[in-house]
Symmetry: C2
Subunit: 273 residues, 2 copies
Amino acid sequence: MARLRLTVAYDGTHFCGWQLQAPGLGRTVQGCLEAALARLCGTPVRVHGAGRTDAGVHALAQTAHVDVPDERLSLPWQRALSALLPPDIAVTRVVPAASDFHARFAARGKTYAYTLWTRSDYILPWRRPYVWHVGRQGALDAAAMDAAARLLVGEHDFAAFQNAGSAVAGTVRLLTSVTSRPGASPEETVWRFTATGFLKQMVRNLMGALVAVGRGKLSPQALAELLAHGNRTRAPATAPASGLCLERVHYPDDPTDPNDQATACAGCLLESS
Amino acid sequence: MARLRLTVAYDGTHFCGWQLQAPGLGRTVQGCLEAALARLCGTPVRVHGAGRTDAGVHALAQTAHVDVPDERLSLPWQRALSALLPPDIAVTRVVPAASDFHARFAARGKTYAYTLWTRSDYILPWRRPYVWHVGRQGALDAAAMDAAARLLVGEHDFAAFQNAGSAVAGTVRLLTSVTSRPGASPEETVWRFTATGFLKQMVRNLMGALVAVGRGKLSPQALAELLAHGNRTRAPATAPASGLCLERVHYPDDPTDPNDQATACAGCLLESS
């Protein structure tokens, strides 16, 4: 068997998330990839993703690895997969990987982008599936949000920002950066969260809390207390899936980030980084 | 009756174009607007658009006028319409208009944007409905396309770029500018066409011809000869609707272009103009 590394972009709107479901329980990105790979390999192929994304969450550069029969290694994988996949999935890169490369365990971190639509009176139709329309409740206090974001950065127990249903042993994570920048249009702000690892719905819970701060419903200090207290039930509601995009998975051995090739994230366009 | 001027953005993907069809013949933008207006006014209301767009063509700032009963003038029109319209239409602005303002006859010109996706091996899923994926046939010759574009600018008989089915008396139009710029991501190029008026599918036919030039299938000189000859059957094929967006309608009395407020066109983002 030969190992391949795939970089995958998808529009999460019409998927029940990344992870394979039992038959009949919903269309998933992993399921579509495995179906296409099975056709090309003539045998079942398991896809190992760097992480799961929820229903409605998008990806610019999800990363996965697969093992294919040696005799299939010379297939034009990127084009062959693209020809079999539905239009809401694009395989943007396929490269041979070391036999011990593991998309999940080799990852040193991930970057998620979350896009807010801040114009109150309308939303442009084509941006609706890729943003959270927060504008109706008035202008957000950007300074308060920035102050709150600074309190979140670092190694913390993020239990207050983890939704129920996950089986992880610990809830301490290192959040290395939280930034906000203007988005593709003046009506949008893109928040980026980079961490060595994320808990279940952690980005959406952090974003929900930051917007609560922006709306004046929570002070930065109250957010810090929520973090210290570790009780999810006292934290603001989870932000909608639509605004979230898995932008990059970081690996230590990448000479340059492979995801640099693709810059037009569902929620986050036009960065020269 | 009181006259209102509406600015309307829509995602054309799931519309049979702008213009009202007979019942059962298809969902249209005009039809949706008239249904919402009738509910708000308690009486049928005719919507007069600045122009028609075809099925699949988008708009950032289509303009229309309507006459509503005087006693309804104080309605919060923008919000009231937004609440009744489907998610793929946004009314971005409603203002009172002079009783002799006519969205079509007062217009002094229009600007259309056409977006090309030029990366050959994949297309990001969320850009698919808003671009023409021309990349597969190799890099386009930008210099040849620019040269050809310069030959098109000016007052010409554009009969070679008009599709059948229209009933206009003359086919001479003044094309005031054709420009190309990088789009929202490195994989995109946005072509903008401004004219005092356009023939049926003229922009898509011009774009089809310019791409043929870019692919080396037609020289700029041959394009000039096509223009002079005026025979549609000898011209390259019409470009797909998906890449096209009605970006602005120009009116002489606008102190500033009302469409400047909305800058995130389906195909054409981030211009500071």
